[in-house]
């Protein structure tokens, strides 16, 4: 349960514009914002089961239109900045997944009607992993991924 506070599930009803940039993890306690915390999704141990629990399906189509901004190598695995930009219209949700985390779903943003497809947050990563963005728009699910390396560091030239 403690884990939940480190992750994000935000509803986009606060504004009609871009959601999420300011309201990132840590500024608000997710449960305060939440109508209903989707615990099954955030506790799921695999990417597919998290998506099933969150959206009722894990049938995603990969899309090169989604852009993920995240470092190639994390400066600090405990706070990895990730932002997702998606050009689709009628976006319902944007979810961020760290594939190799014990519980992969790290954030899910529910966007308000007409919101631009942009979210930004910081996620925790235990080890090197693909960061996957899943965008649900017009009833379909699209995804893109980017590898973020988590390393012990040291030994630089």
């Amino acid at each position: 349960m403690i884990n939940m506070k480190r992750r994000t599930f935000l509803k986009g009803s606060v504004a009609a514009g871009a959601v999420g940039a300011a309201v990132s993890a840590g500024l608000l306690t997710p449960r305060v914002v939440l109508a209903a915390w989707p615990s099954a999704a955030f506790e799921a141990k695999s990417v597919d089961s998290a998506l099933d629990a969150l959206m009722g399906s894990h049938a995603v189509e990969s899309s090169d239109k989604i852009s993920i901004r995240a470092p190639d190598i994390a400066e600090n695995g405990a706070v990895v900045p990730v932002s997702v930009t998606a050009p689709m219209s009628n976006i319902d949700t944007i979810s961020i997944i760290a594939e190799k985390n014990a519980a992969p779903l790290t954030a899910a943003f529910k966007l308000g009607k007409g919101a631009e497809g942009y979210v930004s947050t910081r996620i925790k990563m235990g080890k090197t992993s693909n960061v996957i963005a899943v965008v649900k728009a017009g009833g379909k699910m699209y995804s893109a991924s980017k590898e973020v390396k988590v390393t012990i560091g040291g030994c630089g030239g």
């Binding site: 190598i73 400066e75 390393t151 040291g154 630089g156 030239g157």
Partner: protein, 583 residues
């Protein structure tokens, strides 16, 4: 014995007759008119006529070496994947034939490890700020308006820079006439000290540029990303690129509030902005490391040249990288003030029409010491002189560090760690700085400091399981041999004492390291082993600094001989131009 200046010049003259001279390391483009190759007079190989109207002088990674030193270039610098056999991953004969350098010439000595000891004893030391200063003045005299760019790793790497909190190097940079710099190891003096120098010592004097350092809280730029300077009425933009992985390769706690990274997209924005403001030439002063520079040059458009450092590669000729906007030149200028890069551009009608590039080796015996700089260096070293000059032991073998795996000086450090810390295994960082010591020479405390002077020098002794040890080796190997340069950090493999292992550089993370053995027995993944080390980046530690431990060991040994170099068994490498054939 060093040969005389006259003999040295004769050697150069002979080399020159066969097509080589110091200045023949220039890159004449095929379009250059016949006979335009500068005819270096044997009387002074450093008299190099100017070319064009915009000149940039570049040195990088001097690691605070104020005095002339010996520095052996690597006999192993493996390139994997698309980097195999491509600059900078060439050593020895492969390097010479790629660049058309005559074997046995002074240039061959400067750029490769070949016949190292004999050639070094003949040709003498290299670098030194007093000699570099003389060379810079000579080159500048023929290039009015030329800028002097310092690629970083200037403040760290000597006893005096450590004890003066980098002040010795800051004042030396000002005396040398540095116009612009970008950082890496500078950051290990801590964010406060960096800002103090930038806002006071460097104010109105030296620009400290970094387009890729942002404040964590607000995402604002910490340093100026670029400047535009007029050189002979040509607006020239210089953009700074700090070492992207500073908070990972070096302690995060030194710069807790700053975020780095490669940041291609922001680089593109900065290039575009500089062009919009009228820059006719855009140059990046980079501390990326050469493989990263080459990839960046293929992705970002509108950069005329990337003058790079960090990986300590001395590259005589620029690599011309094509991208969707044109061609970007990538140069890398070596280390330890051993080289001065000279880029001459002929700019007309708003663009570069032609260029010349030379990477000049700084042979200290061929250049008079600049009196003002020499006096400054004497003054700054005086309070520490007795300490620095202490002869700790004599070495029978050449000591050096540079190379993908343990060098002989690393081996001495690992042996010292295992013996003094009473541990069967030692780890020592794969830094690329640290000078060489000739056979028969005394190892001084000064030498030890060139190998160890960092601001987090505490020695450690940690119990690690066999599986944790493997994980460390895998992690560091991936930082060195990842097939995507953007995931490389630019050091060499961690130096390992005691433990034997095999490595397949072409493998993937988790599968490169095999056959780990200690005292003839396979390493038990579940058993804990004491591991001695230093330079922990995790948190500040109190305790004995590594240089004291190594000094104790050397004083007790008195003589260093028969060094048993613990290098791993290489797998899957075969013939590789980055691997010496005789090693």
């Amino acid at each position: 014995m060093n040969i005389s200046r006259r003999e040295f010049l004769q050697m150069l003259a002979v080399a020159s007759a066969s097509g080589m001279s110091l200045s023949a390391c220039e890159s004449d483009k095929s379009s250059a008119p016949a006979g335009s190759k500068s005819a270096a007079s044997p009387s002074d190989p450093y008299e190099i006529p100017g070319f064009g109207n915009v000149s940039l002088l570049h040195y990088t990674d001097c690691h605070a070496q104020l005095l002339p030193i010996y520095f052996r270039e690597p006999s192993i610098n493996l390139g994997v994947g698309p980097m195999k056999g491509r600059p900078p991953h060439l050593v020895g004969d492969s390097f010479l034939s790629y660049y058309g350098i005559k074997p046995g010439s002074p240039e061959a000595h400067a750029f490769t490890y070949l016949n190292y000891v004999e050639a070094a004893q003949q040709l003498g030391k290299v670098g030194g700020f007093a000699h570099l200063s003389t060379l810079i003045k000579k080159v500048r005299a023929q290039r009015p308006g030329a800028l002097l760019l310092d690629g970083g790793d200037t403040w760290q790497g000597s006893g005096t820079s450590y004890w003066t909190n980098a002040q010795d190097m800051v004042d030396a940079q000002k005396l040398l006439g540095v116009d612009i710099m970008t950082p890496h190891w500078e950051m290990t003096f801590g964010a406060d000290r960096v800002m103090e120098i930038v806002n006071n010592d460097f104010k109105d004097n030296i620009e400290f540029l970094a387009q890729n350092v942002f404040d964590n809280e607000w995402g604002e730029q910490v340093f100026k990303p670029y400047v535009i300077r007029e050189i002979n009425n040509v607006p020239v933009a210089i953009i700074g690129q700090a070492f992207p992985y500073t908070p990972i390769a070096n302690p995060r706690f030194m710069v807790p509030d700053w975020s780095f990274g490669i940041r291609d997209e922001h680089m593109q924005q900065v290039v575009n902005e500089a062009r919009e403001k009228g820059a006719q030439v855009v140059v990046v002063l980079s501390h990326n490391g050469m493989d990263v520079d080459l990839k960046m040059a293929s992705r970002v458009t509108g950069i005329d040249a990337i003058l790079g450092g960090h990986t300590h590669d001395a590259i005589p000729r620029p690599t011309e990288v094509k991208n969707s906007g044109g061609v970007t030149l990538v140069t890398n200028a070596g280390s330890n003030s051993k080289f001065l890069g000279v880029l001459d551009l002929d700019v007309g009608d708003g663009k570069i029409r032609d260029y010349r590039y030379r990477l000049l080796p700084v042979f200290s015996n061929l250049l008079e010491a600049d009196p003002e700089m020499a006096a400054y260096i004497d003054k700054v070293r005086a309070p520490y002189k007795d300490k620095l000059d202490e002869k700790l032991a004599v070495t029978d073998e050449v000591l050096y560090r540079r190379g993908n795996f343990n060098g002989t000086f690393d081996q001495v450090i690992c042996d010292a760690l295992m013996e003094v810390q009473d541990a069967p295994v030692a780890f020592s960082p794969g830094f690329r700085w640290g000078v060489s010591v000739m056979p028969g020479e005394a190892i001084t405390f000064d030498h030890v400091m060139t190998q160890t002077a960092i601001t987090y020098p505490t020695v450690t002794r940690t119990n690690m399981t066999g599986s944790r040890i493997k994980q460390v080796l895998e992690d560091v190997a991936d930082n060195l041999f990842n097939k995507d340069p953007y995931y490389q950090q630019g050091g060499d493999m961690v130096r390992v004492g005691g433990l034997k292992y095999a490595i397949d550089p072409n493998g993937e993370i988790g599968s490169r390291i095999t056959d780990m053995e200690l005292d003839g027995k396979p390493l038990d993944p579940n058993k804990e082993y004491p591991v001695a080390g230093w330079a922990s980046v995790a948190q500040p530690l109190d305790g004995k600094p590594i240089w004291d431990l190594v000094s104790e060991y050397l004083r007790a040994k008195k003589t260093i001989s028969k060094i048993d170099l613990n290098t791993p068994q290489l797998k899957g490498v075969g013939s590789n131009p980055g691997l010496a054939t005789d090693s």
